[in-house]
Symmetry: C2
Subunit: 281 residues, 2 copies
């Protein structure tokens, strides 16, 4: 019987502290979100970010650009926001239309305003054990959940499934920096179960329902499920067979209500942190 | 009975090709090496690099600066070399005197002249699965040895012992980019042997003689020994108990004559590659 890791609770507390701090600022932090095209899911995400910012007293600017936007037009927009002293944080909503080179776009963001920490310079700081300006949102949320539930990664074997630049790769680096022994698995991994069975902390960030089954984990494992999938009935679910794995786990995140709420909360914290770095430097 | 991975042979072939290519260049590639202080080991390394460059037709400049050099003086020197069109590659010999912030110095090097690939921007490219201008020398040498002996990392479990920014961290990222399943172990790892026993490819980059013993590896393992240590008799040795482990391994690098010769060879290749990038851009 595992203890549930309640991301709603933890993110609520962090956001409350954040709004208290922002309340007393004469000038408010400002987050600029660029969205290119009409992708309905992206629009929903951007709206959630805008609403959460508003709720916390963070100013947000949404730059809606048409699908036909050229790469140069997008780069120019980023350049403009890089040079705008009123903007503390810049986020480019992904995915971008296929005619745009996403990496070139992310590299255009001033690392000092890189609220998602997707710029190679900031990723490189993490990869060399140096502090970046801010940490990527979902990995930061995961580390905060481990802190809140008093699960120190040091000396533990953390197994990460998935090697995306948004979750898998950075969270692996951050756990290494927290002195965990870290294994990264992915689609080319042979005998995934052999490795996941050795995990003290198992993080799945693949996006494949029922990927992690009870016979793939050991007793007492801490399970962090970053997956966001739908059951055949259309219900939201993660990568982990929750009802099968939960009895063997010591801690487990539900989906929804686990990592999800932490990500947007980290985004707001990052905006606030970049604001402070910029005004104190 | 393992096959020996002969770094002397492979590096000799690479260097021969390199000198052939350089022979026909009217303008030669130029490597600038900065050495601060009188550390005898550093002087030996710098001399080896200078001689190897000369041997291959690469121009080298050695900037010897006194131990008392201030950080700002060193940053100014790097700035000067960044702006010098005659210099294609810049290397700061480590370690630096303790009064100098090494990370600040490495970040000062123009990423386009960062021949060691220590700049966070270039490390971040590797950490996000993007090609940097050049790869760090020792990890690049290791990947080349695996290529030469036809040992594809894809799907293999690669275990890296050591998490330095010079070897452990980057080689782990590079093996991940080659589709290996990668585990990074270090001084805080609990039951190191449990993990190394699962390795198809085992890379030790710690600097501790007899760290890897026969009972820590499985039959058929590929062993890459990056250690550079001395036996009680003063003989050069690696991290691996060579005579104990060799019978269980399928491939193994000797020390000396394994990874060592590849590092300086990669440095020369990187200088040549940066030269080409700069002249073709």
């Amino acid at each position: 019987m595992a203890q549930l890791i309640d991301g709603r609770l933890v993110s609520k507390k962090i956001c409350e502290n954040l709004s208290d701090e922002i309340l007393f600022l004469s000038k408010k932090p400002c987050l600029a979100v660029i969205i290119v095209g009409e992708d309905p899911a992206s629009r929903i995400y951007v709206n959630l970010k805008r609403k959460k910012a508003q709720e916390l007293g963070i100013k947000s600017i949404v730059e809606q650009m048409p699908t036909a936007t050229s790469q140069q037009e997008l780069l120019n927009k980023i350049e403009q926001l890089n040079n705008d002293n009123e903007v503390n944080a810049i986020l480019v909503q992904l995915p971008l239309p296929s005619h745009i080179d996403t990496k070139a776009v992310l590299e255009k963001i001033n690392p000092l305003k890189d609220v998602d920490c997707f710029h190679p310079y900031n990723m490189g700081r993490i990869a060399t054990g140096t502090k970046p300006y801010v940490y990527p949102c979902t990995p930061k949320g995961i580390i905060r959940l481990l802190e809140y539930y008093n699960i120190p990664p040091q000396g533990k074997h953390a197994v990460v499934i998935g090697r995306s630049n948004i979750v898998g790769r950075p969270v692996a680096q951050m756990l290494l920096n927290e002195n965990a022994t870290v294994t990264i698995c992915h689609s080319k991994t042979a005998n995934l179960a052999e490795i996941t069975k050795t995990a003290d902390i198992l993080i799945s960030a693949v996006g494949q329902k029922n990927l992690v089954k009870p016979d793939m984990v050991k007793e007492g494992v801490v399970v962090i499920d970053v997956g966001m999938n739908r059951t055949d009935e259309g219900k939201l679910c993660g990568d982990v067979d929750f009802y099968g794995v939960e009895p063997k786990a010591s801690f487990i995140t539900p989906v929804p209500g686990g990592v999800g709420p932490m990500t947007i909360c980290s985004l707001m914290q990052n905006t606030f942190d970049l604001y402070n770095i910029q005004y104190n430097s």
